[in-house]
C-alpha cells in the first residue's frame, strides 16, 4: 500500500537547512499494525507526517497504491488526506469551541457531505469508541482518555485506509493507555484498518505487529514482534 523510496527531509533552506530524514526506504502493506520508536528528536513525527500526507515538502518518491504522491499538488493532498487517512495526536487536537459531534463530523463536512446527513455516522462511531452520550458536550468537559476517544472517532469516521497515531498514549495514564490500545487493536483486527503509530513506550509498541527503530533520521531496525 505504502512505498517510500529514498526520502530525504530538510527543515529550513540554504545554510540553515537541517537534514532530518536520511534516505528512508519503507514499505507498509494493508492491514499492518506498525510502531515507530526512537529517541525524541530522531524524526519520528516528521516521517509519520510524510506518510500521512500532512507534509508534501520532501525529496524522494512516495507511491501510495502505486500512485506517485510526490508529484501531487497541494489541493490533491488535501483530498487524499481527507479520504484515505485518519489522525490521532498526542494532544488530541480537538476544536474546543465545537461540540464533540461537530468535531467528529468535521472530516465528513470537508468530504462534501451535509450536516444533516452525517448525524447517524457520527453517532455510530461515537458508540464504537465507547462514548455514546458525549455528542453534545464540549471537548474540554471530557477527561484525557475520553478526548482521545473522540479524536479516534474523528479519525475513523470516514472509514480511512489507514490511521496514523503520533504518541497517542503519550498524555495518558497507563490504565487509559491500555484502553486506547485495546481500541486500536480492535480496529486493526476487526475492521482491518492499517495503523502506523509512533510511541516511546516499549509496552505499547509490543502490542503492535512490527516495530521500526529510528535514530537520527535513519532506520536502525525493522522487526516483526514475536507473538
Amino acid at each position: 500500500m505504502i512505498d517510500i523510496k529514498n526520502v530525504n527531509k530538510f527543515y529550513g533552506q540554504g545554510d540553515s537547512s537541517f537534514h532530518v530524514l536520511h534516505d528512508i526506504n519503507l514499505s507498509i502493506s494493508e492491514g499492518e499494525f506498525v510502531s515507530i520508536m526512537g529517541q525524541s528528536g530522531s524524526g519520528k513525527s516528521t516521517l509519520i507526517n510524510i506518510i500521512g500526507f500532512l507534509d508534501d515538502e520532501f525529496k524522494g518518491e512516495y507511491f501510495y497504491y502505486n500512485h506517485p504522491i510526490h508529484e501531487y499538488t497541494r489541493t490533491q493532498f488535501s483530498k487524499l488526506r481527507n479520504q484515505n487517512v485518519g489522525f490521532v495526536f498526542q494532544n488530541f487536537k480537538l476544536i474546543n469551541t465545537l461540540t464533540v459531534a461537530d468535531n467528529v463530523g468535521l472530516p465528513l463536512l470537508y468530504a462534501g457531505e451535509k450536516r444533516k446527513a452525517i448525524k447517524e455516522q457520527v453517532k455510530d462511531v461515537l458508540e464504537a469508541v465507547g462514548l455514546p452520550d458525549a455528542s453534545e458536550k464540549k471537548p474540554t468537559n471530557l477527561s484525557g482518555g475520553q478526548q482521545q476517544r473522540v479524536s479516534i472517532a474523528r479519525a475513523i469516521v470516514t472509514n480511512p485506509q489507514f490511521l496514523i497515531a503520533d504518541e497517542p498514549t503519550g498524555a495518558l495514564d497507563s490504565k487509559t493507555s491500555r484502553e486506547i490500545m485495546t481500541l486500536f487493536k480492535e480496529l486493526n483486527q476487526k475492521n482491518k484498518t492499517t495503523i502506523i503509530m509512533v510511541t516511546h513506550d516499549e509496552k505499547v509498541a509490543l502490542q503492535s505487529e512490527r516495530i521500526i527503530q529510528i535514530l537520527d533520521g535513519r532506520i536502525l531496525s525493522d522487526k516483526k514482534v514475536n507473538a
Partner: protein
Amino acid sequence: MLFIELLKTSWQSLRVNPKRSFLTMIGIVIGIAAVITIIALGNGVKAKILKELQATNTGKQTTEINYYPNDSTAATQGFSENDLEQIRSNFSATLSAVKFKRDTKNISNTVTMGNDNRTATLSLVKGANQHYDISTGHNITKSDNEVNNQVALLNKKLAIKEYGTEENALGSALSVGDNTYKIVGIFTKASDDYNVDFLLPQKTYLYSTAAQNGSTIKLTFNKGVKVSNASKKIVSFLKKNGSSRKAGSYEYTDMGSLLSGISKVISSLTYFISAIAGISLFIAGIGVMNMMYISVSERTQEIGIRLAVGASGRSIMLQFLLEAIMLTVFGGLLGFLIGWGTAALISLALPFKAIVTFGSFLLAFGVSSLVGIVFGLLPAKQAANKNLIDILR
C-alpha cells in the same frame, strides 16, 4: 465542503464571540446608517419638488396668498373680485392668471336660519357619500348638484337644539349669501370634514358665490418669472391697496423656493455625509481586518486541525472571508434599518417624507459586502496559507 455548510461554519465561529463580533460591526452600522439617512431625505425632497412642479401644468409656477383676519369671527373673507382685478391690472406682465382658491370643506360663512344671523360651518358635497348618514328626510342627490337645486342637510345636533325634533327642522329655510336653501334631510355620524353644521350641493353653492370673494387666491406666473420676488411685491401691494387690509394680514408660502432651498442644503450635506461615512466605513473596515487577523492567529490550532482532516486551503480561506462578510453585511443591514428609522424621524420636522428605495437597500448591501471582501481577504489568505506542519508541532 458544500457552500451552505461553509456558511454555517462561519456563522458558528462568529457566535463563539458575540460581543467582539458586535463591537466590530458598529462602525459599519454607523457608516451605512448615515448614508441611508441622507439618501432617503434627498429622495424625499426630490420627489416633493417633482410633485410641486407637476401641479403647475407645463412647468409654470404658482403661489397661494392667504388672508388671515385679525378677528376670526369677522365676516370678510379677505379677497374681493375688486382685489383680483387690481392685481390683474397691476401685474399683467408677470401673472398669467389670478383666481380664488375655492374651499369645498369646512367653510366658515354667515347664514340666516329662521330669523337668526349666525356664523356656521359648511361643507360641499356632489351627492351622497359614506362620510355621513341620513337620519331623517333624504340625502342630496347627484342630480340636485347638477341642476343647482337649492337644498341643504342640517346636522342632527343643531336640528335638535334649534327645532326640538328632527322632523320640525325639515322644510325650513336657510339663507347663505343671496341664496335660500331648503333643508331636506338631517345628517348624523359625520366624520372629518363633514362634521359641520350644514352640507350643501357643491355646484349650487359655488355658482351662487362665484368669483365674489374668498380667503385664498391662487396666482399663476408666466414662465421665467422670479416667483419669490413677484409674490413679495404682490403681497406688499395688497397690504397697501387690499380691500380688507385693515382687518387682517396677507401671507404667502413659496413652496418652490422653500423646497429648492432644502434640496440644496441636502445635496451639499450628501457630499459631506458621504465623505464622513466613507471615512467611517474605511475605519470600520480596518477594524474588521484587525479583528480577523487576531481571530486567525488565535485560531491557528483550529486551522491546523481543519487542514489535517482534509480542508483545502480554499475552504479555509472562504470560511474566514465569509466570517468577515457576514459581519459587515449584518452591520450593513442593521445600518440600513437604523438609517431608515432616522430619516423617517427627521422628516417629521420637514415638509416632505423620507423615501427609502430598493436601490438604497442594494447600496447598503453592496457596500457592506464590499467592505467585508476588501478587508477580509488578506486575513483569510493568511489563514489559508498557514503551514500545517508548523501548526501541528
